[in-house]
């Protein structure tokens, strides 16, 4: 219990669980909350790469989009089982992550950034121009998924709880990861990759592992998205989407897990307000990134917490 969930996070999750119970809450806000939690979960899984391992992925949207298309393809064909969708998403995203992980982790961290970007662009181009997957329109008009026979995920409340469960599980998994042997090695790789090799660690293997884990978590989030939105489009895989994930992590604070969740939520709400001014939107994103890096590199929560390893001594 103490490693997977802290008391503080339990309180937060409980509060989030109570959200739909608020009387008279409009459907719009529930769905916005869905988006916020999903974005937060993705930002958290990206933090495993950026904050803990020091690897910046500029192509995370590809994992997200692939997961969405996996679900969309199944739902379109009348396979409505949520579990089938998730399993298929794991398969598809897992394969892609394996390939990209192999190439992207073979050399220094900078190549990881470049290769994730290039791979994601290729995936986007492929889906955008392939008619089997709907081309630029994507796959639209999807039916609702089904949890168990007879229980469809059709109301906003059910959709919200779906993402809530996902967030809690993803958070628990991430927390266990970062507090384990594995998590420590990731930090060592971030701090000094070469030194870690000379201490006996097969650094590429660790990088591949964290890349796959982060990709799978994001891919599962992507798999959930069409259940809420009833579509999957290539725009989910745009590099600007990857940029938005990165902003969320930066706003929240690298290396804290919770920070990026907050960052993702904050960013989703911000975007909801600002994106009506579509023209200026991307300039705002760019400026925000520059400003955060220069003046607020620790984000809202900062790197403070990840270094409190003394805490773990007491609970060892």
């Amino acid at each position: 219990m103490s490693r997977a969930l802290t008391w503080r996070s339990c309180v937060v999750f409980a509060a989030l669980a109570a959200l739909p119970l608020v009387p008279g809450i409009p459907k719009y806000y529930l769905l916005l909350a869905f988006d916020a939690l999903l974005f937060g979960a993705i930002a958290m899984s990206l933090d495993l790469l950026i904050g803990y391992t020091g690897l910046v992925s500029f192509g995370h949207a590809a994992f997200y989009g692939l997961g969405a298309y996996a679900t969309a393809v199944l739902l379109e064909r009348g396979i409505l089982s949520l579990w089938a969708c998730l399993a298929f998403a794991i398969l598809v995203v897992g394969l892609y992550a394996l390939v990209i992980g192999y190439f992207a982790t073979a050399r220094r961290g900078i190549y990881f950034a470049l290769l994730t970007l290039i791979f994601a662009e290729v995936v986007y181009t492929f889906f955008r121009y392939t008619q089997t997957f709907g081309g630029s329109d994507g796959i639209q008009g999807l039916p609702d998924a089904v949890v168990l026979p007879g229980i469809a995920i059709d109301t906003p409340v059910r959709k919200y709880y779906l993402v809530w469960v996902y967030l809690v599980l993803a958070y628990a998994v991430c927390r266990v990861l970062v507090t384990s042997h594995f998590g420590r090695v990731l930090v060592a790789i971030r701090e000094n990759e070469d030194r870690a090799r000379f201490l006996g660690y097969n650094v590429q293997r660790y990088k591949m592992a964290v890349c796959m884990l982060s990709a799978l978590l994001t891919g599962l989030a992507g798999a959930i998205y069409p259940i809420r939105a009833a579509f999957a489009t290539p725009d989910l895989m745009l590099w600007t989407e990857s940029g938005e994930f990165i902003i969320s992590v930066m706003i929240g604070g690298l290396g804290t897990l919770v920070g990026p969740i907050l960052g993702g939520v904050f960013f989703t709400l911000l975007r909801d307000k600002v994106s009506s001014y579509v023209d200026w939107y991307f300039i705002v994103i760019g400026v925000v990134l520059v400003v955060i890096v220069l003046f607020l590199p620790k984000g809202l929560l900062g790197l403070r917490r990840v270094f409190r390893f003394g805490r773990w001594r007491a609970t060892a």
């Binding site: 050399r107 220094r108 900078i110 950034a113 290769l115 290039i118 990759e193 991307f282 760019g286």
Partner: protein, 292 residues
Amino acid sequence: MDYLVAVLLPQLLHGLVFGAALGLLALGLTVIFGLLGVMNFAHGELYMLGAYAGIAMVGLTHSFWAALVVAPLAVGAIGAVTEVATLRPLYRREPLYGLILTFGLALVFREGVRQIWGGDMRRILPPFTGSTPLLGMTYPNYRLFLLGASSLLLLAIWLFFTKTRAGVLVRAAVQDAEMLDGLGVNVPRVFTLTFAGSAALAALAGLLLAPVFTVYPQMGVEMILLAFIVVILGGMGSMGGSVVAAFVIGLAQSLLTLWMNPQRVAIAIFGIMIVVLIIRPRGFFGREGVLE
């Protein structure tokens, strides 16, 4: 034979010019990374800014040649200001901050240009028209000019890096940035000048190629992606490797366009990169022992 001359050959020549432009961009990336430790995601936008600065200048003076002088200088100045204001504070920090910052800068430049000039495609008219008979085909004069200009540029750059004291210094520092500290050089100024110089060169490439391609805000994105592939194949520590890889990719791009639509070409180039990485994971000229 007709096909060879009328279609293949011009495309080949075009590929050489394109490769030279890619080489300029890739060199800029390599030098900036080696010296400043920053992967400049905004480099493609500097290329794009060169074209737009050219449009502005041509609008003002109706002279392409005036634009050719002023635009690179203007973008070089923008580069210098950017380096001092946003990159300098990052040198002591982890490299990932530089990545994210330049990514943000790219967004600002790109969307800023879109706000000012709109998102439509624009044209810069070449400074002279007409074509010349060459090897049995007729080749547009401006493209001939480009061939000559890019050869001269590359020659000048090669001379700079091998024969001038400043160039040799920069080249050595790309391999080992720490050596600059011990030489009594004004390091911040070297960094700023290097960044500004790379920006000016990228802008020059953008302007020179503008009459051949159309000008639009996204034009830098496609170039930078190819430049990244070039850098991956050439290896970050090898400037010569970047240039070689640039020509390979430039020629591949040019020739493949004859037979495939643009999307397939992009995927084919990507495929070439994957194949090379499988056979030689460190790229064409990767150096062993640097834990590359």
